[in-house]
């Protein structure tokens, strides 16, 4: 099984502060990998390195390599637009555009040059179905996305991400702003999506990590303390710090 993402000796700095220290991790293709760890440990910074969203921060610096399908994504020849099309992202707070439900999903297709309205309509339907939202919105596609519930908005954001056909979906605590029922729906969705996409999910919720992911990495103070199969990491942690964290002794 080839790895989709390989990170070697990654160090990330924001100005003077050293946020990520010597990160080495390999992410399996079409599986779910959870990143757990206390607040401020660098999980979000790490996934934002994978689609170069950190580039929007002027003080961002990094060394080390990040390979996607064997190619360095920080190579000067890499087009960030193409990269972000391949590596989609779902944010912590649902952030649909103040546009109609349809236009939210169609947005990514249109900016990538798709003009045929029939094709767009088909893709929108497909994506909404894949995101398990279609049944709830099929008769109100022209309604503003701002009128949906938080959980529906988050699934819309997932649909919007899926629409541009990424290989990888990064999820930055996608359920932290949602109620338990919406959370369950998103988790079910992750189970469905993992067959077609490589998913990396940041979560504060360790039960969620055990429920959705095959692999888990534990971050602490900008380092990966331990990573491996989720079951193993939770049942027989090798490192004392991992054990302390998963048994709730800190964090």
């Amino acid at each position: 099984m080839p790895y989709r993402i390989e990170v070697e000796n990654l160090n990330v700095y924001f100005g003077e502060s050293h946020i990520l220290k010597d990160i080495n991790i390999k992410i399996n293709t079409n599986m779910v990998t959870s990143l757990i760890g206390p607040s401020g440990c660098g999980k979000s910074t790490f996934i934002r390195t994978l689609n170069r969203m950190n580039d929007t921060i002027p003080t961002f610096k990094k060394d080390g390599t990040v390979l996607l399908d064997g190619k360095d994504i920080y190579d000067p020849n890499v087009d960030v637009v193409d990269l972000r099309k391949k590596v989609g992202m779902v944010f912590q707070k649902p952030n649909p555009f103040p546009k109609s439900i349809f236009d939210n999903v169609a947005y990514g297709l249109r900016i990538h040059g798709l003009n045929d309205n029939d094709v767009i309509a088909n893709k929108v339907e497909e994506s909404l179905k894949a995101a398990a939202l279609w049944d709830e919105v099929e008769d109100k596609l022209e309604m503003s996305a701002m009128g949906l519930s938080g959980g529906q908005q988050q699934r819309l954001c997932i649909a919007r991400t899926i629409a541009v056909e990424p290989e990888v979906i990064l999820m930055d605590e996608p359920c932290s702003a949602l109620d338990p029922i919406s959370t369950t729906k998103i988790e079910d969705l992750i189970h469905k999506l993992k067959h077609d996409y490589t998913i990396i999910i940041v979560t504060h919720n360790m039960q969620q990590a055990t429920r959705v992911s095959k692999y888990t990495a534990f971050f602490l103070h900008g380092e990966i303390v331990e990573s491996g199969l989720t079951d193993k990491l939770f049942m027989e942690p090798k490192d004392k710090r991992t054990e302390d964290y998963i048994t709730g002794r800190f964090g």
């Binding site: 689609n51 969203m53 929007t56 960030v80 637009v81 193409d82 990269l83 972000r84 099309k85 989609g88 992202m89 944010f91 707070k93 952030n95 649909p96 555009f97 103040p98 546009k99 109609s100 947005y107 990514g108 249109r110 900016i111 990538h112 309604m143 503003s144 996305a145 701002m146 009128g147 954001c157 919007r160 991400t161 541009v164």
Partner: protein, 291 residues
């Protein structure tokens, strides 16, 4: 107990000051109507609004050319000011580096503080001769006034639109960039559409300033009461009419100037209602979170 009294007292003071500003506006409107309505009745509403000749010496009071003059100068100014200020506000809000923005924004806001007579001077010395030399005529013209008004309303529209653009949450830009959109696609398709209600408010305020401007306009329009054949011909606006003749008018002429004020107020109210309607429509189409 005393704290409760203090609360009541402050509430009362705020209420009184709030109400008094509304009362003042009502009083001004009532005053203009009471001074101006009799003249409209004696001239006849239709003759007054649609009359083509304004000649107090022979008792002809028609303000139609001035309504056209006001609308023409204002809309021409908006036509030039809207694209300019929109581009400028996008640059300030989204593209300019922070230091440049810190320098530019106060400079632009400073433009709003220049007295209108100074703008008038500038128009008189620079724009009027420019029009005269390059486009013929006297140079006192619709276009001269519109150019001056354009400059005058830029700071209003720019700074309010810029505030509107900057108030759009970064989450929207982030979502767009994460989908692979370029910065320009993000500005064009996400940020600007979301800021449209605020931008319309900016345009309304700019329009209000353009309609009401008197001094700078008097100095460059030539003040001839006529429907101009082209934008290079002189014109007179409603505000100019009042300011030019108030000093010496008596009797019916005096009242007719107040009637001009009534027409001016009516034109402004109609335009404001229209603009608010457009604003409401766009807000509804943007949807939920913005209402």
């Amino acid at each position: 107990m005393t704290e409760k009294k203090e609360d009541k007292f402050i509430q009362w003071v705020l209420f009184a000051t709030g109400i008094s500003s509304i009362l003042i506006i009502i009083l001004i409107i009532a005053f203009i109507f009471s001074e101006g309505l009799p003249a409209i009745f004696s001239i006849g509403l239709f003759n007054f609004i649609f009359g083509m000749i304004w000649n107090p010496d022979i008792g002809l009071y028609g303000v139609f050319p001035m309504i056209i003059g006001t609308l023409l100068t204002t809309f021409l100014a908006l036509l030039m000011a809207i694209p300019l200020s929109l581009c400028c506000s996008i640059f300030l809000a989204e593209i300019a580096p922070p230091n440049m923005r810190k320098l530019l924004k106060p400079t632009i806001q400073g433009l709003a503080g220049i007295p209108s007579v100074i703008y008038g001077f500038f128009g008189l010395v620079i724009i009027v001769p420019f029009i005269r030399i390059h486009f013929g005529g006297s140079g006192f013209s619709v276009i001269s006034a519109s150019l001056i008004l354009t400059i005058m309303i830029l700071p209003t529209i720019i700074s309010i639109s810029e505030d509107a653009l900057r108030s759009i949450p970064f989450e929207y830009s982030e979502a767009s960039l994460a989908l692979g959109a370029t910065q320009w696609q993000t500005i064009k398709n996400v940020i600007v559409p979301a800021a449209v209600p605020g931008i319309i408010t900016a345009i309304i305020l700019g329009m209000g300033r353009a309609i009401g401007e008197t001094m700078a306009v008097i100095m460059v329009t030539g003040n001839v009461v006529q429907i101009p054949g082209s934008i290079f011909e002189p014109v007179r606006t409603l505000t100019s009419n009042i300011a030019l003749e108030m000093g010496y008018a008596t009797g019916l002429h005096y009242s007719a100037l107040f009637s001009t004020g009534i027409i001016l107020l009516t034109v402004i109210v109609i335009l404001l209602l229209l603009a608010n309607y457009v604003n409401y429509k766009t807000k509804v189409s943007i949807g939920g979170g913005y209402l």
